[in-house]
């Protein structure tokens, strides 16, 4: 199965995402440059990696969400292409309108990097089925602007429709209702601030991240 990782200027988890995808699919993903205009047609899962696209000098993810490749990504995602954004990738997805809400400055106003326990709040999503009976996972977080914000109506809707996929056990950034990861209504687009791609090797201190990649790959 073919997968792809989009690289923006100052993406910095693109290599990490590629390794995770290769580990799960057995095939190296396509590395797609932000100036390209089309996601290759045979790609069935796309990752928007973490990093500081365009330095985060403007609102995080805002510049990247206007790049040529994201235009094509939005079209294909709306037709059902599986797309996941981690950290900066999640910010890009909200800026591009593929996911609701926004990521604002952490409540503590500081960058925070630590392993974080997450609760799987929807184990039937396309990104969590592989976890089976597992209810908790540990993924590292590393961000300055990971405080998930949306109005109450949106939050209620997200909860009601099972779009809240992960919550923090101990909220590190002030996110509304401890939300760590969400998907769109159709379930094909997913974003989270924590880094599953940094939890795929025993030497990382854990392999909890593998289940997320396996889930979405198995669902395709």
């Amino acid at each position: 199965m073919k997968t792809a990782v989009i690289t923006f200027p100052a993406s910095n988890c693109n290599r990490d995402a590629a390794i995770a995808l290769e580990k799960v699919t057995g095939v190296k993903p396509e590395m797609v440059w932000h100036r390209e205009s089309e996601i290759p047609a045979d790609v069935s899962f796309v990752v928007l990696p973490g990093g500081f696209s365009y330095g985060d000098y403007l609102r995080c993810g805002a510049m990247a969400s206007r790049s040529p490749i994201v235009k094509d990504l939005v079209e294909k995602a709306n037709k059902g292409l599986a797309v996941a954004g981690f950290c900066n990738g999640f910010q890009v997805l909200t800026e591009a309108g593929l996911l609701p809400g926004a990521l604002i400055r952490n409540k503590g106003l500081k960058f925070v990097c630590r392993p974080e326990k997450l609760k799987i709040t929807n184990s039937n999503s396309r990104y969590t089925t592989n976890y089976g009976m597992t209810t908790d996972v540990i993924f590292p977080v590393a961000h300055h602007d990971g405080n998930y914000y949306a109005d109450d109506e949106t939050l209620n809707k997200l909860e009601k429709q099972g779009q809240v996929v992960f919550r923090y056990a101990e909220n590190p950034n002030g996110s509304a209702r401890d939300i760590a990861g969400i998907c769109n209504e159709a379930g094909n687009v997913f974003g989270m601030m924590p880094h599953p791609e940094r939890a795929i090797d025993p030497l990382h201190g854990g392999t909890d991240g593998l289940g997320l990649f396996k889930s979405i790959i198995e669902s395709i």
Binding site: P9, A10, N12, C13, R15, D16, I19, G50, G51, F52, Y54, G55, D56, Y57, K110, F111, V112, C113, R114, P115, P140, A142, H144, H195, E197, R198, I200, D201, L203, H204
Partner: protein, 733 residues
């Protein structure tokens, strides 16, 4: 300042040049320099660029070894770690700018040290930092900690290189001059290392990266003078960092380096375009001609003087293979970086600058480097402070209180508040970092089952008490820390931070420390491959404690064999490798409990260090130990508590030697390792040690949820952890 500026004695002085130095310039030029030429001489001959006070002493260091590919003299040191891989690393100071403008000073320090490493063809894979702040109660400390930590994180996190470890001390000796030392470690192909020597005649010189602005003019000169009450006014000499551009520069340079287009490459660090062009020309034995009109500029109307002395960040200079210009242009345009062909190499041996179609500088290059002052400053190596016997040191009546105070004291307390602001896992090869509180960070070589171990260490109070012994200790502690994780120590970089070298007692600290360091390097076959000297760390005549920070790098050849301090298990026996006498001179106990900063530091027996360390490494390779921790600041008690915190399990220390309890628990004897071993390994570990002449005694047992010691403390692990974690959050709240 422009070309018409008349050179007066006052202007010469303002440029930090002595009368004798100006005489040399007049002699070499055979005429008066113009203002551009004067500016160029002044930065090249500044302490910061010329190492004029330190050069003759740095020459004493061991710099060669089986694994050394490149020692001091290039942008960074290069070592061989087998399989065609090379590690490129260096540590550098950004003290003066960080005191004046903490965020940008620290951020640009990180940017600068990363450029030194990727300039040589390495992808940066790890950052470390060694920070020294004033006493916590000083009014400036909180703001400086805040700014420096945010600056380091803001830059490193954005570029996407993990900050994996470091050390932070607080002492009133740094109230007027903080130290921000940053280290970068990069990974390269051993047969594709890049150097700065420009070669050939008529080859194109490219400028790549950020535009040149008016920031940082005379930064190198600032870093070569003491501070006074008006230092705040020097803020405009501090540069502003742009990590986004740095990230693009790394990727673009590495992409171009994968082709054969680059002849020579040099980053524009201190003294910007001046030092980069002169160093490239001097090393290659060629001349350089530049057209400054072609330099990408951030603002209009910049003079040649400003362009040559600007320290705008994120800029590189390279000599490109003729015919490869388009290839270079294409790659830099892909990464949306400014690129310009600004000159060529020549056979004149001169630096010729043109601006507005006029020649504005024409000077021979050799004297700038060869005739740079090389001073033999008078020095007096201070004698060691007198030895204090443990029996003369007051014994606390309340060990619980003493332990809690020490574990919560500024230097020993958890630095979580700091390292949680650093991305420690980006690149997904971090095996161990500050997170465990371990002795050395461990970073895997991408795609392979081996790793580098990295540490930075210095114990300034020891160096203050005895520069020679303290210098030895700094090197020995890095060697020990690398050993603790199972690495073979390979080489070091250093950052020598001292006061005003014009004072013989400061120069004596410098010389004494170097002699001690060098002796340790030679005993361990552990060469210095790169480094930096930062002098004039003084304010109103008060110098910092002498602080020769050492960054050590080692190789873990097989990741199936390494340990950290986290692995201690219930029922494990604690064994002390190395001899305990109970040395309390210059100890943490003396300083934190009795408020005394005195006494000779613990002696460093290099033969015992080597013997004990080699044995511990063997135990790790034979999988005989579950956890290892170096005994350093605070002695056995602190090492044991840190091991208990990391493993989240209690322990009980049992008396093994005859000496006063406070000396047994808090003595800082060197060459010691605390190891946790399973029951069935206890006898083999002790008997083999005996056979090798290594001292090994049982000192306790792992288990329970309390920290206990015979005749000493008995506190809960959770309660102690709370105190240990409290210091920084309380200070910074």
């Amino acid at each position: 300042m422009n070309i018409k500026t008349k050179i007066t004695a006052e202007i010469v002085k303002e440029h930090g040049l002595s009368e004798e130095e100006y005489e040399i310039i007049l002699d070499r030029l055979g005429r008066e320099p113009n203002i551009n030429e004067l500016g160029i001489f002044s930065v090249m001959w500044s302490e910061h660029c010329s190492y004029k006070s330190s050069r003759r002493h740095l020459g004493k260091f061991l710099t060669k070894g089986d694994r050394v590919i490149q020692g001091p003299g290039e942008n960074a040191g290069v070592i061989d770690i087998d399989d065609g891989d090379a590690i490129i690393f260096k540590m550098e100071s950004h003290n003066h700018p960080s005191f004046i403008e903490p965020y940008q000073g620290a951020a640009t320090g990180i940017g600068g040290i990363m450029r030194d490493v990727f300039t040589m063809g390495a992808r940066p894979i790890a950052l470390m930092n060694a920070l020294r702040f004033g006493e916590p109660s000083h009014w400036k400390t909180k703001q400086l900690v805040n700014g420096v930590v945010a600056g380091i994180g803001g830059y490193g996190n954005c570029v996407g290189v993990p900050t994996v470890g470091g050390e932070t001390n607080f002492h009133k000796g740094y109230n007027g001059n903080i130290l921000v030392n940053a280290m970068c470690v990069g990974l390269a192909d051993a047969d594709n290392v890049f150097y700065s020597a420009a070669k050939g005649v008529g080859n194109p010189i490219f400028y790549v990266g950020s535009k040149t602005g008016r920031d940082g003019i005379h930064g190198a000169t600032m870093a070569s003078a003491e501070f006074d009450d008006d230092s705040e006014e020097k803020r405009p000499t501090v540069q502003v960092g742009d990590p986004f551009t740095e990230k693009l520069l790394i990727e673009a340079c590495l992409e171009l380096m994968a082709t054969d287009a680059i002849i020579a490459i040099q980053d524009m660090g201190a003294a910007g375009l001046t030092s980069s062009s002169i160093e490239m020309a001097d090393k290659g034995g060629v001349g350089i001609s530049l057209n400054l009109d072609k330099v990408p500029q951030r603002e209009d109307g910049m003079t040649a003087y400003e362009m040559m002395l600007s320290e705008s960040q994120e800029r590189m200079l390279m000599v490109i293979q003729p015919g490869k210009e388009k290839l270079a242009y294409d790659i830099f345009e892909k990464w949306e970086l400014d690129v310009a062909l600004i000159g060529k190499t020549t056979d004149t041996g001169r630096l010729v600058l043109r601006h507005n179609r006029k020649k504005v500088c024409d000077i021979p290059i050799a004297p700038l480097a060869d005739d740079a002052p090389n001073l033999d400053r008078p020095y007096e190596i201070p004698a060691s402070l007198p030895i204090i016997d443990a029996s003369e040191v007051h014994e606390t009546q309340d060990y619980d209180d003493a332990l809690v105070r020490i574990m919560g004291s500024p230097d020993i307390a958890s630095k979580r508040w700091i390292w949680e602001q650093y991305d420690r896992h980006v690149m997904a090869d971090t095996v161990d970092s500050s997170q465990s509180g371990g002795d050395a960070a461990i970073v895997r070589i991408h795609g392979k089952n081996k790793a580098v171990a990295i540490t930075t260490d210095c114990t300034p109070r020891y160096v203050q008490a005895d520069p020679y012994m303290g210098g030895k200790q700094c090197v020995a502690e890095t060697w020990r820390n690398l050993t603790c994780v199972g690495a073979d120590p390979i080489a070091i970089t250093d950052c020598l931070n001292f006061g005003n070298p014009e004072r013989p007692e400061i120069m004596g600290q410098f010389v004494g420390a170097i002699e001690g360091m060098n002796e340790a390097c030679r005993a361990f076959d552990y060469p210095v491959v790169s480094g930096n000297v930062s002098l004039y760390n003084e304010t109103n005549g008060a110098a910092i404690p002498p602080t020769p920070a050492v960054g050590g790098v080692g190789l873990i050849p097989d990741l199936d064999y390494f340990v950290t301090l986290t692995g201690a298990k219930d029922g494990d026996t604690l064994i002390m490798i190395g001899d305990t006498q109970g040395w309390l001179g210059s100890s943490i106990y003396l300083r934190e409990i009795l408020r005394r900063e005195e006494g000779a530091p613990p002696p460093v027996d290099l033969e015992a260090e080597k013997r004990n360390g080699d044995y511990v490494r063997k135990l790790i390779r034979n999988k005989r130990v579950n956890a290892v921790h170096d005994c350093s600041d605070g002695g056995l008690a602190v090492a044991a508590c840190e091991m208990a915190f990391a493993g989240n399990i209690g322990l009980h220390l049992s008396r093994a030697i005859e000496c006063p309890t406070h000396a047994w628990l808090f003595g800082e004897d060197q060459a010691r390792y605390l190891v946790a071993v399973e029951e069935n390994s206890v006898n083999p570990v002790i008997s083999t040690a005996k056979a090798k002449g290594v001292s090994a005694q049982i000192v306790g047992k792992i288990g329970g949820d309390r920290i206990k010691a015979d005749d000493g403390f008995d506190v809960s692990l959770a309660g102690l952890r709370k105190k240990h974690e409290a210091f920084l959050p309380e200070l910074m709240s």
